[in-house]
């Protein structure tokens, strides 16, 4: 039987996605952790996994045989991403290309061949029973979607609980990360800005018809616009993580709260139980 896949996401960076995702996976003990935040992959700083396998991620990009090209510009007109242009000769923008292969299909001269280009890497490892899959993209790459797609492919048939640490925001890379998720955990800060970003990821979860709940992070005294948003929209609050300097210190040292002697670590086990129940 396939294990449940839990995506942890937030509308902005620095909200606590990695804190929540790492602690959920570590609390589950026999689980998988997938770091889809390939632009800033920091899950491995916490898990410090023993690397068992490293794999390059490649995408296909067009290469045009200039001796065959007749300057018809059919490929330029076809490419909706504008990855191809033609001045005096064809110009290819590898970073803009989405690897659809359409240009090679439409070229009447068959002058376009697709060749592999390395865009990133996946490291598979293990950390105290947690299987880790960490993706990273090469410097200068415009999109991590291809790395994320391959990451998610690696855990397609996983039977254990899988926690997906998503990139921030609600754009393509997040959509790719939550596509296969059974449940979404939305992490939110207690600010007006935090509530605004929560609204964006909530809309995304609705769009993808994913059941979801909210973890309120950095909770202190005073009003919490993110909590108000949850109450107004009838969204379940899964946990409230206090604004706690001890937790902040642990985190800054790359320690995992549930694996050390953190007095409030029960909250992550309780969160795991609620998420498991909700994902069923």
């Amino acid at each position: 039987m396939a294990g449940k896949k839990i995506a942890v996401l937030s509308g902005k960076g620095g909200t606590g996605k990695t804190l929540v995702a790492v602690n959920l996976a570590a609390a589950a003990k026999n689980s998988c952790y997938v770091d889809c935040d390939v632009e800033a992959p920091d899950g491995k700083l916490f898990f410090r996994p023993e690397i068992a396998e490293t794999k390059e991620v490649c995408v296909l990009v067009p290469r045009i045989d200039l001796s065959e090209c007749t300057a018809c510009k059919v490929c330029v007109e076809f490419c909706r991403f504008h990855a191809l242009a033609f001045g005096k000769k064809p110009v290819v923008f590898d970073e803009v290309c989405h690897s659809c292969g359409g240009c090679a299909l439409v070229c009447p001269q068959k002058a376009i061949k697709e060749t592999a280009r390395i865009v990133g890497m996946i490291e598979k490892g293990v950390s105290e029973g947690v299987q880790t899959f960490c993706g990273s993209m090469n410097m200068g790459e415009a999109t991590g979607v291809s790395v994320i797609r391959q990451l998610m492919d690696s855990v397609k048939n996983e039977t254990r609980l899988t926690v997906i640490d998503c990139p921030p925001g609600s754009a393509c890379s997040v959509m790719e990360s939550i596509r296969e998720a059974d449940y979404c955990v939305l992490v939110a800060e207690p600010t007006v800005f935090g509530a605004h970003n929560l609204a964006m990821v909530y809309e995304l979860a609705l769009l993808f018809k994913k059941p979801c709940g909210v973890v309120l992070n950095k909770c202190g005294d005073g009003n919490n616009p993110s909590r108000e948003f949850c109450l107004q929209n009838g969204i379940g609050i899964l946990a409230e993580i206090p604004f706690d300097s001890a937790l902040g210190k642990l985190n800054s040292e790359g320690k995992i709260a549930v694996r050390v002697d953190y007095p409030k670590k029960e909250l992550f086990f309780a969160l795991l139980a609620r998420v498991r129940e909700a994902a069923e």
Partner: protein, 121 residues
């Protein structure tokens, strides 16, 4: 020869648009016929690759000179390949910049903007 200027409005008095790729219109001026026309920039609302598409549009129109405040790396690659020269505009209208170009008062635009690509993720 055709000269293009990115403009905010389809009007000779329009200011030069600060964005090349996402300018709403281009003024096209033909030095041989002395005719000015305005075309809509198909890349103005493009989700990506706007500079490339805008540059391609102007090359397809036969433009050889562009007057603009700045342009991006991707647009530059296409324009260099298309042997299009880019000059930096002076403050003022599209019309006054055309005059400035014809009086040799404009300088080559050397600095290429690295672009705002993907900063919002």
């Amino acid at each position: 020869m055709k000269i293009a200027i990115p403009v905010n409005e389809s009007d000779m008095k329009s200011e030069v648009c600060p964005s090349f790729g996402r300018a709403p219109y281009f003024l096209l001026y033909d030095t041989s016929t002395k005719e000015s026309i305005f075309i809509e920039n198909p890349a103005a609302n493009s989700p990506g690759g706007a500079g490339i598409q805008a540059a391609q549009t102007l090359i397809d129109q036969g433009v050889k000179v562009i007057i603009a405040p700045r342009y991006g790396e991707n647009a530059a690659k296409v324009l260099i390949d298309g042997e299009v020269k880019v000059y930096k505009n002076l403050p003022g209208s599209a019309e006054s910049n055309l005059a400035a170009y014809q009086d040799n008062r404009l300088e080559y635009l050397a600095d290429i903007h690295p672009g705002f690509h993907h900063h919002g993720r």
